[in-house]
Every structure is written in C-alpha cells, then in structure tokens.
C-alpha cells in the first residue's frame, strides 16, 4: 500500500527491524528487547514530564495575562470617568491584545493536556505489553524447541516492538509540538517584557512606538464598541470620579 497507511507502516516497521535485527539468537533478542523496553519506559516518563513542564509554563502566563486583563479593564473605566478617552482607548487596546493571547494560550494548554493523557495511557499500555512479553517468553521457552521458539519469540517481539516504535513516534510528535509551544511562550514573554500588557499608568505621556504597533494589531472596531459600552455604564453613575489607579501593586 503506497498510501498514507503504507508510508506509516514502512516508517514503523523499519524502526522495529532496526530494534530487533541486532540480536542473533532468540535469547539475545529477549535480552536486548527487554533492555530497550526499559529505556523506552524511561523516555516516556521524561517525555510526559516535559509536556507537564511546558503546560505549567503556559498556565502561569495565562493567569498573569488574566490579571492584566482585569487591571486594564479597571483602568479603562477610571480613565473614562476622568474624561481621558485617549488613556481609556490605550488600555482597551492592550486589553484586546491580551485577550487574544489568552485565547491562544488556553487552546494550547488544552492540546498539551490531551497529549499528556495520551502519553500516560500509552505508557500504561506498553507496561502491560512488556509484562505479557515476559510471560510469553517463559511459556515459549518451556514448550518449544529452539527453532520453533525463535519464530514464536520473533512474533511476540514484533508485537511489543511495534508498540515501542509507535510510542516513540508519538513522543517525537509530542516533543515537536511542545517545542513549537515553547517558542510561542517565549514570544509572549517578549511581548510582556516589551511592556505590551503593562498597565497604562506606568507609561509616560505621548504615544510611543509600542502604541502605534498596538493600534495596528488590535481591532479598532472592537475597542470602539467596548468604549461605547463603558461610557453607557458609567453614564448612569457619572458623579464620582476616582483617581487613576497607580500601578504599584504590579502583579
């Protein structure tokens, strides 16, 4: 089959042969196979730990951004009640951008969670297969002649080998994805470091380069809508005018 399945089968089968071909006799196949299986389980554990680390990092960023969203929203209201539409708009632009980042982070966190679950389930399955392989090995040794045993063991080894090869592929794929997310997380961190989500009270007056970029990035319509909504809300209790909160409780 030259198609999707054929290509996939070829990749996995070539990995199995490479794993199994090193051994000359059935006994060696078993020893080598077992050694490989133990290594594989260690790798899977490490792979799962990597996914968890990546997930935690994204979760931390996500909760930081959530705080910024709340803060920027508050500041926009305060600015508006003081008649500082320019500041309110700036805060809302930042809030919009932070919200967009949040959505993307959250979907990545979900993806990593799925990956973690799948790898954990696969690890369990591989353990069971290794155990079955060991049991089978003893039965084969007791019941069959050397020549017959070789064939039987080879079958069993291919069974467990395929599981290992496939898990190896799944881990590599998980690693690639985690790597992509790591890059993405760094990009968000850079935005943070550049002050993209900082509260507006920490900025000097006047429009800086960042603001110009933000204006291009965030949807003007969305900001306008939100501004109008806030005005309507504030319009009812418009008497008081709290001072613009200073950004000292910088989270």
């Amino acid at each position: 089959m030259p198609g999707l399945a054929g290509r996939m089968s070829t990749v996995v089968k070539s990995k199995i042969s490479r794993m199994l071909d090193r051994a000359e006799d059935p006994g060696e196949t078993l020893d080598y196979g077992y050694q490989k299986q133990v290594e594989m389980l260690q790798n899977v554990k490490k792979g799962i730990a990597d996914v968890v680390t990546a997930k935690k990092r994204l979760q931390m960023q996500s909760s930081k951004l959530e705080q910024q969203v709340v803060k920027l929203d508050t500041q926009a209201r305060q600015a508006l009640s003081q008649g500082r539409d320019d500041l309110a708009r700036m805060a809302l632009e930042r809030k919009t951008l932070a919200q967009t980042e949040l959505q993307s982070l959250d979907s990545q966190i979900k993806e990593l969670e799925g990956q973690q679950e799948q790898l954990t389930a696969n690890e369990q399955k591989l353990r069971t297969k290794i155990e079955a392989f060991r049991t089978k090995k003893e039965v084969i040794k007791a019941q069959y002649s050397a020549a017959e045993a070789q064939v039987k063991i080879s079958d069993a080894a291919h069974g467990v080998g395929e599981e290992m090869a496939d898990l190896g592929l799944a881990m590599q794929r998980a690693e690639d994805k985690t790597e992509q997310m790591r890059a993405r997380a760094s990009a968000v961190e850079e935005l943070e470091e550049a002050g993209t989500f900082d509260d507006i009270t920490q900025l000097g007056s006047g429009e800086d380069d960042l603001d110009r970029q933000l204006k291009q990035l965030t949807s003007g319509a969305q900001v306008d809508d939100e501004l109008a909504k806030m005005r309507a809300e504030l319009g009812q209790g418009g008497g008081e005018s709290p001072t613009l909160e200073q950004g000292k409780e910088n989270a």
Binding site: G3, L4, A5, R7, V12, S14, Q118, A132, D166, L167
Partner: protein, 92 residues
C-alpha cells in the same frame, strides 16, 4: 486484519475491509497530491469511521503485529503532505 492507529492502539477488522480501506487510502493520497485539504479530511474521517465501526480493540496484553498502520488521528494536512513528499510524518 489488524489495523493500528498510531498513538492510539490496535484494532481487529474483518479481512473484507482491507479493500475498502485501501481504496479510501488511495483517494486520500490523490486528495493530498491535488492540495485538496477538505477532500483529504473527509476521506480521513471515513477511514477512521471504518475502523471505529468494524474494529474491535485488541487487549493491551495481546502481542500482534499490525497489517496496516494509520497516521495519528489528529494528523494535519501539512503532515500528510510531508508524508508524500518523502519527508515522512516523523523524520528518522
């Protein structure tokens, strides 16, 4: 026949399904070659449906080699394209 969905596990299917699976697979390849993402995704879903409908999951302690290995369920169109340009779903 035994079919593995990569990253997921093995399923035992009636041998008659081989021809149908092969046909879907060939059409999926054609869709990829034409850059038809929608068509590919549709055919891929049909392949997964076939396995889900006719297949019985192998017990974890069964040691069988698969006759056919399918890519991971969430294979992307880009990954499928990679498979045919020779780069492979997962490089060696």
């Amino acid at each position: 026949m035994i079919v593995r969905i990569s990253g997921e596990g093995q399923f035992r299917l009636p041998d008659e399904d081989a021809a149908r699976l092969n046909e879907l697979d060939n059409r999926a390849v054609a869709a990829v070659e034409q850059g038809d993402e929608h068509g590919f995704m549709e055919l891929w879903a049909q392949m997964l449906d076939l396995v889900a409908r006719d297949g019985n999951r192998l017990a974890d302690d069964e040691l069988e080699e698969s006759d056919v290995i399918l890519p991971p369920r969430d294979v992307s169109f880009e990954e499928a394209q990679g498979e045919f340009t020779g780069e492979g779903l997962i490089p060696d």
